[in-house]
Structure formats: C-alpha cells, structure tokens
C-alpha cells in the first residue's frame, strides 16, 4: 500500500513537472525561421515573448544546409514558421508551405506589386533583405501576425515594431550617408554572385556580377572580359566576393582589368545569404548590413 502511494506520488510529481514545462513554454510563441535574417527579424519583433529557432544557422546557405533531427522536431512543434519565400528555400520551402497546424509567414508576401525584382516574368530575385524599406514591410507584417496569434502580447509586438522601424530608418540613413561619400560614378558594385540587385535599386548603385543567381550556371570568358572592361573604363577601385565563395572567383576579373591597364583591389567578402556572427559583431541584420556597406564604401573610396 505504501509502495503504491509512493509510486502514485512519483507519477503525480512527474506529471506536474511536465505540465509545468508545457505551460512555461506555452506562454512564449514558438517560432521557427529558415534564414538568419528571418530569425533575427523575429527576435527583433518578438523579444522575450517568442522563442526563435533558426534552421539555416550562421554562414549556411540553402545549398549547404544539412537538416537534423532537432530541426524536424522544432518545425513539428512550431507555432509560427517564417520563410523568406521567392524560392530562396528551394524545394523544402515548398514542402513547408503545406504544414498543418502551424502559421506560415512568407516574408516576401509583405511586398507590394513592383517591390519584387523579376529577372523575367517567372523568376523573382529572393534577396529582398538588401533593401531596408522592403525589410521594414516584412517587419510590419510579422508584427501583425504575431499580434493576431498571441493577443496577450499584442502591445509588446507593436511597441517593439515601432522601435525596430526607427532602428531600420537609422540604418537606411547610415547607408545613404555612407554611399553619399562616393561620387556618383564610383557607385559601382561588382561581385561574384548576383545577390545585390535590391541593394543596387534602393541606393542607386550600379550592380554587376560574374555569375547570376542560378548555382548551376557557369562563368564564361566573355562575361569576365566584359566585366573587366567595365571595371577599367569606369576606373572602379575595388571589387568584391560573397563570403560563401573563395576570393579567387573574382580574381580573374582583377587580373583581366590589370591587363587592360587598370589596377583594382579585391575589397573583401560581403555577407549575402546569411548574417555574420558575434565574433565579428555582425550577428544581426542591421550590423551585417552596416558591415557590408562600410566595407563597400571604404574600399570604393580608396584613392589610387
């Protein structure tokens, strides 16, 4: 009899523990984001009211991404799933759109007609975060959805959104201020891959890339020569790579430009599909974008 009581007490204790864990967790919205940018946005809006798990961690692009069991569990348990959209997440992005019992937020859905850059009628460019005004729209949509799902914290979300929008406007001002240091003919950004079209459109920078968005495409000699001629004729002082490709990818442009009598330096590696990390003080969207712009402007304003 005593034993029975003991066992019952033990089971009850266990159950209360489990219940405790649940209720504690249940208060916070469980958010799973695919990219570091989306995850950062969710943290910025949600603050302590949300618990954010980012699937593709720092430095990971969709091609490198190796999902794990914990990712499966996180998605299955999520209240909200945030994806970038516009095919950035490839096939698994499509699969996640059919998820039952989870609210899906597609950041690109916040954009209006004309916001999205189309290469042709079927193919949107997914790198929307490199235009602060578009990112602000995504933030607003996210805050609205959070408030709908979690009415208790609605006020918190709207307060945090306001604060974040101000931060974004500072970021925007910083970007414009820094780019103003460059004379208009210096505002040419040449990179290895085509991830900066939105950046170029928003801030009046001419953007060229060795390679397009498709990872299946290959560089051609004619493209590299054309780019080198452009570099030489505009006397562009620096060209860049994305952090996910080796510097040698763009070195061919540098050498070809030099053969045309123009010296150009490789300005460094830009963050593209993922934010940086805390060790470089670039763990947020805002810090990453600032780091990119500072790198670009510093390199392009170098006197020869």
């Amino acid at each position: 009899m005593k034993r029975m009581l003991l066992i019952t007490a033990f089971i009850l204790m266990l159950m209360s523990l489990v219940a405790c864990g649940n209720s504690e967790r249940g208060e916070r919205l469980r958010v799973v984001a695919t990219t570091t940018y989306a995850g950062d946005l969710a943290r910025a809006i949600g603050g302590n009211a949300v618990e954010v798990i980012t699937l593709m961690g720092v430095g990971i692009d969709p091609h490198d991404y190796q999902p794990r069991q914990s990712d499966t569990a996180a998605i299955a348990a999520a209240d909200v799933l945030i994806v970038n959209g516009l095919n950035l997440e490839e096939r698994f992005g499509q699969v996640l759109q059919n998820l039952q019992g989870t609210t899906l937020i597609v950041l690109a859905d916040a954009l209006e007609e004309g916001d999205v850059i189309y290469e042709d009628e079927h193919t949107p460019d997914p790198h929307i975060w490199f235009d602060v005004s578009l990112w602000a729209k995504a933030a607003e949509q996210l805050a609205t959805t959070f408030a709908l799902l979690d009415g208790d914290n609605a006020e918190l979300y709207s307060r945090r959104l306001e604060a974040y929008l101000i931060e974004l406007s500072w970021l925007d001002a910083h970007i414009r201020g820094r780019l103003d240091e460059l004379s208009p003919e210096r505002r040419v950004l040449i990179t290895a891959h085509d991830a900066f079209a939105y950046f170029g459109r928003a801030y009046g920078v001419e953007v060229h890339a060795v390679q397009g968005i498709s990872t299946s495409a290959e560089a051609s000699i004619a493209d590299i020569e054309a780019l080198a001629q452009l570099v030489a004729s505009l006397e562009v002082p620096a060209i860049f790579v994305e952090s996910s490709v080796p510097e040698s990818t763009i070195r061919s442009v540098k050498e070809a430009a030099e053969s045309l009598g123009h010296n150009v330096v490789i300005g460094g590696a830009l963050y593209s599909d993922s934010t940086g990390d805390a060790s470089r003080a670039t763990e947020t969207y805002i810090r990453t974008f600032r780091a990119n712009v500072d790198l670009i402007v510093n390199a392009l304003s170098e006197e020869e």
Binding site: G57, Q66, P67, I224, S259
Partner: protein, 357 residues
Amino acid sequence: MPELWLVTNWPYTLRVVTIGTMFLGFIAGFLGTFIVLRKQALVGDALSHAALPGVVIAFMVTQVRDLPVLLIGATIASVVAMVLLNAIKRRTTVKFDAGMALILSGFFGLGQVLMSHLQKTGGASQAGLSTFIFGQAANMVRADVVLIIAVSLVIFLVLVLFWKELKLYVFDEPFYRSVGLSERAASGLLTITVVLVVVIGIRTIGVVLMSALLIAPSVASRQLSNRFMVNALLAGVIGAGAGAFGTYLSYVGSDRASLPTGPVVVMLLSGFVLFTMFFSWRHGIVKHRVSVAYYKRRIIKYKRLIHLYEHGPFSADERGQYSQFIDQRFATIKAGQVEMTDKGKQKVRDIIEGGRQ
C-alpha cells in the same frame, strides 16, 4: 571582335584559360589512359565527393577557411579514399566501380554528418564550405596556370620515367609482381598523380570538365590506336586540343549569349568521342558495318564457287551454273567435270579468310 586568329590579339582571360585548359587537358588525357584501362574512369567524380570530409575536418581543426588549407584537407581525404579503394580491390572480389561508389557515398555522407554537426556552432566563416574548393574554367588566374604547368610537367616526366614498370603494372599485374617489382610503389605512384591532377583540376576547371578530360580523350584515342604509348600521347594531344579549341570556341561563340567554357569543352570532347567511335579507320562502327556488308555480298556472289570448292568437282552437265566463273577462269571443265582452277582456289580461300581483295 578584333582579329582573333592572332593569339596576341586575344584578351587576357582567353589566353590564361586556354593555356590552363591545354596543359590540364594534356596531363589529364595522358594520365586518363592508365585510369580508363584500370576501369577507374569515374575517379575524378568520385574523388570530388570523397574530398568533402577532408575539407570539413581541415576547417574544424584550423578554424580558418583558407583555400590552401581546405585543399590540403581535400588531398588527404582523396589519398585515404584511394588507399581504401586499392585495399578493397586487393582484398576482395569487389570491382573498382562498386568500390568507388561505396567510397564516394560513404565519404560524402561522413562529410555531411560533420557539416551538420558543425552547423550548430560553426559561425559565419563556414559559409560555402562544401563548394569552396570547386572552381570554373573561366575563373582561372595566372597563379593557377603556373601551378598547372608545373604539376603537369613533373607528372609527365615521372610517368615517362617509370613508363615500362607502369605499363607492365597496368597490363599484367601478376607478372609485374613476379619480376619482383613492388605493387605498392606502382599503385602509390598512380594514386598520388591521380589525386594531384584531380584536386588541381576540380579547383581550377571544376568537377565535370575534369571528369570528361580524364575519360573522353583516352576513349577516343583507343578507337584510333592499339599501342599504349601512342594511345597515351594521342589522348594527351586530344585533351590539350579540345581544351584549347573548346576554350577558344566558348569565347568566339559568345556573340549573342555568353557560353560557359567548361561545358563547351565537354561538348567538343563528347562529339569527338562519338566521331571516332563511328568513323575511326581502325575499329569504327561505320567501317565495321561497311566491311561486314562487303563480306556478305562477296559470299553471296561466290556462293556457287565456294560450293564447288568444298564439294566439287561436279558433272559438266551443271556447267550452266558455273559459266560466269569459267569465264573468269576460277573454274574450268576437265574430263567432263567442272573443276576449280588454282586461281579459283586462291579466290575462295581469300573470301573465307575474309577481308583481302
């Protein structure tokens, strides 16, 4: 475009890439002759996958994503993969291609495991780790070309120096061992040269062109010659020619849309392989078909004569059927019987032995 038949008018990139693909094409074609003979044709593709764990471990150990560091990791992983492959070959009855598929997938799987582990903690510098070591032909720079030329010359000299031994090893391994030569030395030498060429190849021209340059030239040269030395040199020349000409074509063909260099070279190589398979004067399919048809026709034409050769002589009553051959002096009538002449006998022997006129 300015007059491109003059090399001095070529733009810088075209010159660099042409020289690079030419030298790499030569050494890959030359070395490929050994590889294809040993039924390891897909070693380029296999090693490009097998390198992944080496790359990831190199990054994990050094915490820097420097290209040279990652390439050293890739090289070590490739050598380990080749050693295991040779062990499988030596110790079991498993064929090379099956061993290759196992090593390719097992190593790459291990690389994925390491990457998925790393992704929890790896930080921003792991960006692009899995593709970092792969290059594209058009992105080649001067330093790459210098490396390619140096390595391909050294490897060529070494292969030529040990030519007899290697040839024996490739063609008759039991005999090679029986004359007291070390099997480890030969397989070690081939392993190191293959890994070096493949690693440099995937870094500078990418996996697919590298694979094609290892396979296609030697397949084509096999259609043209049966002598091993000629084969290897010819494969080298085909590789170099396709590399250089394909690079040139990809540039001049870029009038309307820019053509990627690597794939154009591959197309050229594949086309050449098909061409030699069909039209080789030695074993070409066309020649084979034509000679078979010719042989058949002759047999039909001389059916009667062959019959006479094998079963004759016959009574002269049947001379009607042989009048044509009697006119041609292949047969004659002697003592009331149709009989073969010496000329006729010679003719039939020629036909039966095939080929000769």
